[in-house]
């Protein structure tokens, strides 16, 4: 993917794409999935609402951990998967950012409750 250097490529930013017709989407594409238009990448605003949420109980190699994973609808019109802090619930207004998470300090999108 050209010119889409986001957190998945080690850059501390969330990117979405849009086409000249105004369609916006999150998962990187070569062309607009609705109309085939030429995409450009942009940084969406951080504010959004939690659409769905799970606490995943992972038991691997004898260790147990709980990962909170959310789908967040950003006000700018795209839905993305993020890690979620403990106070987040379905319907919460949240701020989405990129953080260094876990023992390997991997860059991942996360959401926290937006302070009023």
């Amino acid at each position: 993917m050209i010119h889409h250097e986001d957190w998945s490529r080690g850059e501390p930013r969330i990117l979405a794409q849009r086409c000249p017709a105004g369609h916006v989407w999150y998962l990187p594409r070569l062309r607009c999935p609705k109309c085939g238009g030429e995409p450009t990448s942009f940084e969406p605003g951080e504010a959004g609402t939690v659409f769905a949420l799970t606490s995943l109980h992972r038991r691997t190699d004898g260790t147990a951990e709980v990962l909170r994973i959310a789908l967040v609808d950003l006000d700018d019109g795209v839905r993305l998967m993020t890690r979620a802090s403990d106070s987040v619930e379905v319907g919460s207004r949240v701020a989405v950012s990129v953080g260094a998470i876990g023992p390997h300090e991997r860059l991942l999108p996360k959401c926290e409750v937006l302070s009023a």
């Binding site: 799970t54 109980h57 992972r58």
Partner: protein, 399 residues
Amino acid sequence: MTDAAPKFPADAHITGVGLTAFGKDLGMSALELQGTAAFAALDDAGLTARDVDTVIAGYATTIQHIMPANLLAEYIGARPDKAFGMSVGGASGLGMVAEAARLVRREEAGTVLVVGGENRASGQSRDAAIATLAQVGHATHEVALGANIPAYYALLASEYLHRYGASREDLAQLAVQMRAHAGTHPGAQFTKPSTVEDVLAAPAIAEPLGLLDCCPVSDGGAAFVISNRTDGGRGVRIAGTGQANRHQHVSEADFTDFGARESSQRALAEAGIGLGEIDVLGIYDSFTVTLAILLEEIGIAAPGTAGSMAGSGAFSASGRYPLNLHGGLLSYGHSGVAGGMAHLVEVVTQIRGEAGARQLAHRPRRGLLHADGGVLSAHISLVVDGSPETHRRATEVIA
């Protein structure tokens, strides 16, 4: 009844079914499970491997062979004109049946063997199975977050419960019903009766889903023979097929329209019947929430009510819509492609009146099957019809 006449030179009939027991270690390789199921289906149809002109085989995570149908064909001694694999996740089984029906209806095949099976539980570590299956998620923007299949479906469940103000108890009723059915099938992996309290008390897997909201990982195999012959009325006609594919990843799914409605409506329209004429159901149930959403999108249950319908007995053997009478993925077990085929084996067995102690008191004539692959990503529906009357009608329309 609408007049959606078959427009094909031939009808496709399921004339043989094969299903192994499912369990955590059957002591067989993937190929042995596939072969066992294939020979059971061929024996059932009164055929040998040499009678088969087309072999379709589903993928197996424990083989990861690039030519699954050719591998199986050689193993069982078949020398088919056509042999190809299929990979549509949990929808692969019905996908292979739909493709077999398409070939037979157009007289491009006469006798098709459809097979799925693998030692998914015993042939790899639990972590390896979970990691393989997680890959239906988006590699860089979902899997990277640590998500896996239970997590994707838990996101669906979280939104479902929130939207309808429903509770875990509602979904639990579906698990309890599947377990009750499995108790009547000698091949089922889990047969001990469960209660709603058991489901709620089970360890959390991906909240709101607990262990008993999730299907197990199993060894097992299943197969069908699909033919242009009716086999003296013992064949069950494939009356309609439908498919829909809207998204791959949960991040891009339309939670108000995953595709099951369109897929099932297409199958019913092709069969020329409505839901009211369906006697028995086989609906994919990888998780309780999968079953709830599919039942509601198909229109069998009103939005948000699949669980309470289960609680009132609507899906029991004496209910309006007997559902997954073998116990479904949740309790018969889930060995990948074969898991999604077991529902059809049971529906055909019930329509033939050969289900023994589980046989419905009123032998069903028409069944509706639906499976999904991925995260409600690929949808495939099937209507099967064992009625001699409809056999005749279809023949007359073609003539």
